[in-house]
Symmetry: C2
Subunit: 396 residues, 2 copies
């Protein structure tokens, strides 16, 4: 490209406004917003009225526009916009993790077919350049795992609970007021947002795509005072963690679970709305990347990084997808979990291989034990219907 | 390039051997070492004898070789190798920070003239992809500062002193035995290594090159029990920090100094041979990157990342050098320092603007006060001749 980027923007919520703010601030502007497509024409806006339209074609038919930036909430509408743009040979920057997590293989093919590029570093971990680094810098077979706090909103809530004894509901409300939370809180606190990001990260880390519906995600909305006390007694904190790990030369496994994290782990100290990702490799041991993962301006500046990357014609090559010996997802993997449950019927759902710790009183019952991931996935839909909480409980 | 990389390697010390080890481990090999030029033909080697030569021309005249990797200690010899290669149109991967720090402007020009590329991510912070991220991801005007622990060896020593009460000499010896330290310890502990890395980082962060000789660097070799006690009493740790900071829209300042770092700072917790870099920006607040900065295999894997980047034809564009309003280095900047000195004559060297804390006993004298960086640079050569220790002492 290397000539000025003229943007057709879809969506003017938290991220869209953040982007506009960041673009105004940047000198030597390589990019400007020409038109913004929104759902509601009548809302008061921070930019002059002539920028706005409710008709997507005002953007698609504008021959001056050479980049589509899509930062809307609705994943189905986002899918329509992205595929339409790519099919027209227009490159796209997208922040829609749900849409990406469900459609990546098709969108990769579409890029190859049309030559247009799709960038989405902003979709995973906001301002931390995780995808770009996995794609470019960790472009070899030495990668062992990627593990991280991928959702700023739930981490904000957990921080308030663990550091300030705040109640869950108060903390959630505060996250929403500060603009960290998605419009549907379940998206954040039940681990869906983390899961979608993990699916995207896995494509760039190991070249393997797995449909989110096949994977285990469980969040923090069921967490109780007892679970918090258990963590503190063990000198750990509960963090909502997404992780993908190489198990052998052709197998990886991935899941999103609350985890009991010990003090000596980097992610133990990731607080508030921050995200932190630990990249582990055979020779470089561990690398830790840390930054603001949510919020208007940090995400806006991440979108800006994707935009300037397009200015330099950057595109993802999906290098790991071309690996000769491919990685495949397996759900056959033993993990140790902490399970707080209400009655024996709940407990009997879980096909533990071994129970190593057991506690029961009238008001609080838990077990710690080893269980196969596939046996949790089998009962995934049941988990959310019951008053129980589970967390991965790594040995160190 | 996109066809197999055939490497002519100069140097087979810690990093060279690390690289060979890493390359052996990697599957789907895109790169192999064809010939290795060493100083001493007779040393026992871990690879077959036919790999080795003492004649550089055996590499330069081998038409199969399409990439020079230079990982020797001697900066003058490195300069000769790199310029010869670039002039022949051969691309180079180099890890020699001293050579780079003194010759970057010329080497940038040479790349532009010949079309050959020079990559050196491995030269700054080993396995952490700092340069590549500054160049590609933080490609905008939002950057405020880059601050970090850039030298693994001195940080290892400081960690042993602060965490294990080890003596300085014992810790230094240990660092050397573990292969973290450069052959000349002053390079590490007096802040030269950090300074060279900072000069390189600054080119990619702000587009400005400053000759290392113009800059202030002071290290930890003069640190005493009293200085350590002072830090602990203030609930801080001494870390050797390199930092470059934007002061205005066209001014930056940079220096390497021991710093008294408080607990809530990310780099407070960077221990042992690890490096940690905090990238601060206007909208993304702070990003922290952390990883192994020294040692054979981590650095070897960083060199490998540069090699595979060449496989994909990657080159630095030096984008920030093309900024319309250029940044210029200024040494006119007030900082607060802690100064431990022996006698009034030492103290009178320092042109303090204000002294805010003063202590004197027979065995230990110090002041805390504000001083202009340029007034320290004036007496730079004098500092090392006297029994004194200074450290930046930020207000928070």
């Amino acid at each position: 490209m290397e000539n000025k980027i003229t943007i057709g923007l879809f969506g003017f919520g938290t991220v869209g406004q953040g982007l506009a703010g960041v673009l105004q601030r940047v000198e030597n502007n390589k990019a400007e917003i020409k038109r913004i497509c929104v759902k509601n024409a009548d809302k008061p806006r921070t930019l002059p009225q002539e920028f706005f339209t409710v008709n997507p074609d005002d953007i698609f038919n504008d021959s001056k526009i050479n980049l589509i930036v899509e930062v809307i909430d609705d994943d189905k509408a986002a899918y329509g916009i992205v595929t339409k743009a790519l099919n027209k040979g227009l490159s796209v920057v997208s922040g829609n993790k749900k849409m990406l997590a469900y459609h990546l293989p098709e969108l990769i093919e579409l890029q190859q077919k049309t030559g247009a590029a799709l960038l989405y570093d902003a979709s995973a971990c906001g301002s931390i350049p995780v995808i770009r680094n996995l794609e470019e810098y960790y472009d070899n077979d030495l990668l062992i795992s990627v593990k991280g706090i991928l959702n700023g909103s739930s981490n904000f809530i957990l921080s308030k609970i663990f550091n300030e004894n705040m109640r869950y509901d108060t903390a959630l409300k505060m996250a929403q007021d500060l603009g960290f939370a998605e419009s549907n809180p379940s998206f954040d606190v039940d681990g869906f947002d983390s899961l979608f990001k993990l699916v995207i990260i896995t494509v760039h880390a190991f070249g393997e795509y797995v449909n989110p519906d096949k994977l285990l995600n469980f969040g923090i909305s069921n967490m109780s005072e007892n679970d918090i006390r258990f963590a503190i007694e063990k000198s750990r904190r509960i963090k909502l963690v997404g992780q993908v790990e190489k198990l052998s030369n052709d197998q990886i496994t991935l899941f999103v679970l609350p985890q009991l994290i010990s003090k000596d782990k980097y992610i133990y100290s990731v607080e508030d709305e921050f995200n932190g990702v630990v990249i582990k490799g055979e020779f470089y041991y561990k690398q830790f990347m840390f930054g603001q993962g949510a919020g208007s301006k940090p995400t806006g500046s991440a979108v800006l990084s994707d935009i300037t990357a397009r200015y330099h014609n950057y595109r993802y090559e999906y290098k790991k997808r071309n690996r000769i010996r491919k990685f495949h997802y397996t759900e056959d993997h033993i993990i140790r979990i902490y399970l707080r449950y209400e009655n024996e019927d709940d407990l009997s759902l879980f096909n533990f291989q071994q129970i190593t710790e057991r506690y029961a009183s009238d008001s609080y019952k838990y077990v710690v034990g080893n269980i196969n991931l596939k046996d949790i996935i089998k009962i995934k839909d049941e988990l959310h219907k019951r008053n129980l909480f589970l967390a991965a409980y790594p040995h160190n």
